[in-house]
């Protein structure tokens, strides 16, 4: 049964998955080329100093992309469910509601995780050749909260799409904007509070998933405008 659910979700999201994988890989390769060009023109010491003293990591282009990925996957996966109330078909399947929603969410999360890991491996792999381990941790601490924010964006946008009441949608949109802005601070803030921000988002993700379950329960009860 769950194979069928995974198949359905994959059919909806496969195009956007490959597009995002391509975009994120291209962004990672562009970043690597940009760092490489900086090293070749000014030398590796100059790069280290820029990273240590000015918090420059050359990762600017990568910072907003994970959130965009999360939003795109949520739209591709759940807009088809809500158009013409197709979610009724899904909820009529002989599977427990919570297990069904968890299976659907897991497909989106796994796809995003794959995209993020590919990017992290490319960027982190290149950095590990040219900088010290302690500096690499700083790069990872910059990127991981953005990836977690991408997952949070996915869950929050899913909850917004599945929610039937406009007042709740507005509330969820407000929460989403706050979370995304919080995790889009400049790099010095991220470096200073990186671990705390990761910890905060890890706590927040299950709460965001609960918001999705709440939207589905409310859909089931007919709470729609």
């Amino acid at each position: 049964m769950f194979r069928s659910i995974f198949l359905k979700e994959w059919l909806k999201t496969r195009r956007i998955f490959f597009v995002l994988l391509l975009v994120m890989t291209a962004a990672a390769v562009y970043t690597v080329l940009k760092i490489n060009a900086a090293v070749e023109s000014r030398g590796i010491v100059s790069l280290w100093l820029a990273m240590l003293l000015k918090d420059i990591t050359y990762l600017d282009i990568l910072l907003w992309l994970p959130v965009a990925c999360g939003i795109s996957v949520a739209i591709a996966q759940y807009v088809p469910e809500t158009s013409y109330y197709r979610l009724k078909l899904t909820l009529h399947l002989p599977v427990g509601r919570n297990r069904l929603i968890a299976a659907m969410l897991s497909v989106g999360i796994v796809e995003l995780a794959i995209i993020f890991i590919v990017q992290l491996v490319i960027v982190g792999g290149y950095y590990s050749y040219i900088i010290h381990t302690s500096m690499l941790q700083s790069v990872i601490a910059t990127l991981v909260p953005r990836y977690l924010a991408g997952l949070a964006a996915y869950l929050l946008v899913t909850a917004i799409i599945l929610e039937g009441k406009w007042n709740r949608r507005l509330l969820l949109t407000f929460i989403s904007v706050v979370v995304i802005l919080l995790y889009s601070q400049n790099l010095s803030v991220m470096n200073a509070y990186g671990l705390w921000m990761i910890f905060g988002l890890i706590i927040f993700l299950p709460m965001a998933a609960c918001l999705v379950f709440g939207s589905v329960i409310r859909f089931k009860e007919g709470l729609r405008d």
Partner: protein, 301 residues
């Protein structure tokens, strides 16, 4: 669930629109096993609302609904597997192909009958790899019907199956469904806004008016007991007032012809007309279809 227990049992259902206007109050009915029941009513009388409540997609303000003896709000997945659902407009997963959607559903239902689906698909002359989104409304209706037949469920709940279908596809749908339901002793609960299609299909009907049930009985009994009489009125005569005669329903005048509907006896009608000084020599009983009976009960406006 005991043998005599109805497949669907609705008790004291009350539902309102968001603005507080009542859709119906204290609605109660049962659907016994093996019967095909049509829920008929004008637009806005709550047909789709009833199906949404029955399928657990709407919480009623009061009352209870049970299917196979289980409350619809807490239905087990095993019970849901015994119910085939057709959503208004034959909505399906349009991003899937004919082949993919069959494979998708087959894993959920233990009694899945693949051949029933593909037999119907052969009639459509479409490729198994064709996407449902590229099909016409009629073709999509056949995909939805094929999936319902393949599911081999004990109860079929069909919301306005005729929506958007041309007469050919409507006829195909009705014939397939009729053969299937009668051969397999299935219970069917359905709505349609084209009542003439249902006459060929349903055993029982519930006719809803705004707020309540007008009648719930077998189609045979309705067409036998509910009568339409016509009478040629004298030149210039207005529609007589029958408000004190509860046996006469929805009297109306078209041209110079008076139409009367009743569950009463012909003698009762004759005496009511004679009491108003009208000549009864042109009084005739008109043969009615289910659609005529529906109009007679609910009125034209």
């Amino acid at each position: 669930m005991s043998i005599n227990q109805p497949v669907i049992s609705v008790k004291g259902l009350t539902q309102r629109y968001g603005n507080g206007r009542i859709i119906y109050s204290d609605l109660s009915f049962d659907v016994p096993k093996g019967r095909i029941l049509g829920l008929l009513g004008k637009n806005g009388t709550g047909k789709t609302t009833t199906i949404n409540i029955l399928m657990g997609y709407l919480k009623p303000q009061s009352g209870s609904c049970e299917i196979f003896g289980e409350s619809v709000t807490q239905m087990r997945p095993e019970t849901r597997a015994r119910i085939a659902l057709l959503i208004e407009g034959h909505i399906q997963y349009s991003f899937m192909t004919i082949e993919q959607i069959e494979r998708f559903y087959s894993r959920f239902y233990p009694k899945w009958n693949r051949d029933a689906y593909y037999q119907l698909m052969e009639k459509l002359h479409v490729s198994p790899r064709q996407h449902i989104s590229t099909m016409s409304c009629g073709q999509r209706s056949q995909v939805a019907l094929g999936l319902i037949l393949a599911q081999n469920a004990d109860l079929l709940v069909l919301d306005d199956f005729s929506l958007g279908l041309d007469p050919g596809y409507r006829r195909l749908f009705v014939e397939y469904l009729h053969d299937y339901a009668s051969a397999e002793d299935k219970t069917v609960f359905m709505t349609s806004h084209i009542i003439q299609d249902l006459e060929r299909l349903i055993d029982d009907c519930i006719i809803l008016d705004y707020g309540h049930i007008l009648t719930h009985r077998s189609v045979d009994s309705l067409l036998h007991d509910f009568k339409c009489f016509t009478l040629r009125l004298p030149e210039g005569a207005a529609c007589p007032d029958f408000s004190d005669c509860s046996a006469i329903i929805n009297p109306s005048v078209v041209g110079r012809t008076l139409e009367l509907y009743t569950f009463g006896t012909p003698e009762r009608i004759t005496s009511a007309i004679a009491a108003r000084g009208l000549p009864i020599d042109s009084l005739t009983r008109k043969q009615m279809s289910l659609e005529d009976a529906f109009i007679g009960l609910t009125g034209k406006y």
